[in-house]
């Protein structure tokens, strides 16, 4: 990779700067340090992307210092909203070294596959990259480019986070770096492998947290290599989804700060890819439903507010430039074709079964099944997100007037790539098996 590529990637490390003021709040003091650093970068990414979208909406040209400064101000403002939050319990001690080693192997495999060029996403060169580099050259979201009918295949309405961040890095590096963009797959996977055990450890014992994280990371690595996700929106999406749902499962979510942070992570997922929206809404809906007795209006606002603002700014941009008013599908909306249901489910089963023999989906499912009898009610949060995602996938595959088989063949493993991670997070919520009665207690006491 050239010096430009290193600079391109290095720019993305700056995202932790605007995220730091929020994450340095004492409310988050008990988040393990690695997880806290990753969350600072992820929160910074959401705030930077939001700032860039608002700049584009207002016609303010992008510049790196101005974007970072405004995002940092937003971070300070959110920090005020996080006041008063606290973590009830310290996370359990680190553990699960075997699981950590497994995660390291998964990340290394993803890195080698990406470096060899065998995991590169064609969508990077078809639309994620071209849009980003055009935005970088134009110093804004280029409405004329998005509105060009010959470029309709670039999906003008796709949410903006990935193209915004790629454009930011391209502005700093002076050009788009295709190699650096593909390397985000193993690098963000490594970030997830570093953050997820710490996040889960706040709610479950260390060994179980590490095992669930390793299972999620391993499944994502295998699917990513099989479905060629390097450089497209999948890995940022998965990072935001896993951290967002992980936060909802942690004791942090009981306080305002944790809710806001989870809301930010899920807003990142929603603005990374369309599939992030059903998953985020499903997980948040279950979380709120489980606390409905306490009428959690404020929590709902903190969880949904970042998504509403981020997506609202993007759709306002689309409407103001006469580009789009919302998401678009193939053909007419609600042109539902249930007659393809049989074909669709067969194609779906085939697509998932041929992704590393279906193992990335099957193994986490079997783990959840093994833990099912001791599962905690909070497992419904990731499972709710998963149910919403699956329902969304089935809906879009049937909401078109033709046989969805070819589309499913190349998209389903990616669309359903969060499923194993969500199954692993649900399995982590299994309570420890009750200890067998001690032999002394079983024997009648002697007189």
């Amino acid at each position: 990779m050239s010096g430009g590529g290193v600079l391109w990637l290095g720019t993305l490390l700056l995202l932790a700067l605007p995220g730091a003021p929020l994450l340095m709040h004492p409310a988050f003091a008990r988040i393990p340090s690695l997880a806290r650093a990753v969350l600072a970068g992820a929160a910074g990414a959401v705030l930077v992307s939001f700032t860039m979208t608002v700049f584009a909406l207002l016609g303010i040209p992008w510049s790196l210092p101005a974007i970072l400064a405004v995002a940092a101000v937003l971070s300070f403002l959110l920090r005020r909203a996080a006041l008063g939050g606290g973590v009830a319990a310290a996370p359990s001690a680190r553990g699960g070294w075997l699981a950590s080693a497994l995660s390291a192997v998964s990340v290394s495999a993803a890195f080698l596959a990406t470096a060899a060029g065998s995991a590169s996403s064609p969508d990077l060169i078809f639309f994620w990259g071209p849009k980003a580099q055009r935005f970088a050259l134009s110093r804004t979201v280029d409405a004329a480019y998005l509105g060009d009918p010959s470029l309709a295949y670039m999906h003008a309405y796709y949410p903006p986070l990935v193209t915004n961040l790629y454009a930011l890095a391209s502005m700093a590096a002076g050009r788009m770096s295709w190699t650096a963009a593909t390397l985000l797959f193993p690098l963000l996977l490594a970030a997830l492998a570093a953050a997820l055990p710490g996040l889960l450890r706040m709610g479950v014992p260390a060994a179980r947290a590490a095992a669930a994280a390793a299972l999620a990371v391993g499944a994502i690595a295998v699917i990513g290599m099989e479905a060629d996700i390097a450089g497209n929106g999948e890995m940022p999406l998965l990072l935001f989804e896993a951290t967002g749902v992980g936060l909802l499962l942690s004791p942090l979510a009981a306080a305002a700060g944790g809710q806001l942070l989870a809301g930010l992570m899920l807003a990142g997922a929603v603005t990374a890819k369309i599939e992030g929206l059903p998953l985020a809404l499903g997980a948040i809906a279950v979380w709120l439903w489980m606390r409905r007795a306490s009428r959690p209006w404020g929590a709902g606002l903190r969880l949904l507010g970042p998504t509403l603002l981020s997506l609202g700014a993007w759709f306002a941009f689309g409407a103001a430039r006469h580009l789009f008013l919302g998401y678009e599908g193939e053909g007419r909306f609600l042109d539902f074709h249930p007659e393809y249901a049989g074909v669709m489910f067969r194609a779906l089963a085939r697509a998932l079964a041929t992704t590393a023999y279906g193992l990335p989906y099957l193994v986490p499912f079997l783990c959840l099944l093994a833990a099912a009898r001791r599962i905690d009610a909070s497992a419904a949060i990731p499972l709710g997100g998963m149910a919403a995602l699956v329902a969304f996938g089935v809906f879009v595959y049937l909401d078109r007037p033709s046989d969805p088989t070819p589309w499913i063949a190349w998209s389903a493993p990616r669309v359903f790539s969060p499923v194993p991670m969500l199954l692993a997070l649900a399995a982590a919520r299994a309570r420890a098996a009750p200890a067998p009665p001690a032999p002394e207690a079983a024997r009648p006491s002697r007189p």
Binding site: I125, F126, G129, P130, Q133, R134, L137, L151, M176
Partner: protein, 89 residues
């Protein structure tokens, strides 16, 4: 596809910003033409990329064997294909 990708990357330095360019396969393959047009949009961000066969393009990139009728002045030739500067008529 990889050979066309390499050709486009190498041609990027020879095509000035703002110039119009078309990519065509030889022998012609409309599906691969479409892919290479999209590759060109990605790899030549400062150029104005036109559809394959466009007569208005100032530069023509031919993926594959050199065409029987030269579309202009040959600027670059390689096993992957060739780059031509079309002479204004």
């Amino acid at each position: 596809m990889a050979s066309g990708y390499v050709l486009l990357r190498n041609a990027a330095d020879r095509i000035p910003a703002g110039a119009s360019v078309a990519v065509a396969t030889s022998p012609r393959d409309p599906i691969r033409d479409e892919y290479f047009q999209r590759f060109a949009i990605a790899l030549l961000p400062r150029a104005h990329v036109l559809p394959a066969g466009s007569e208005e393009a100032e530069f023509v990139i031919v993926v594959g064997v050199a065409p029987r009728e030269p579309p202009g002045v040959l600027l670059q030739n390689s096993p992957e294909g060739s780059l031509w500067h079309r002479v204004p008529r």
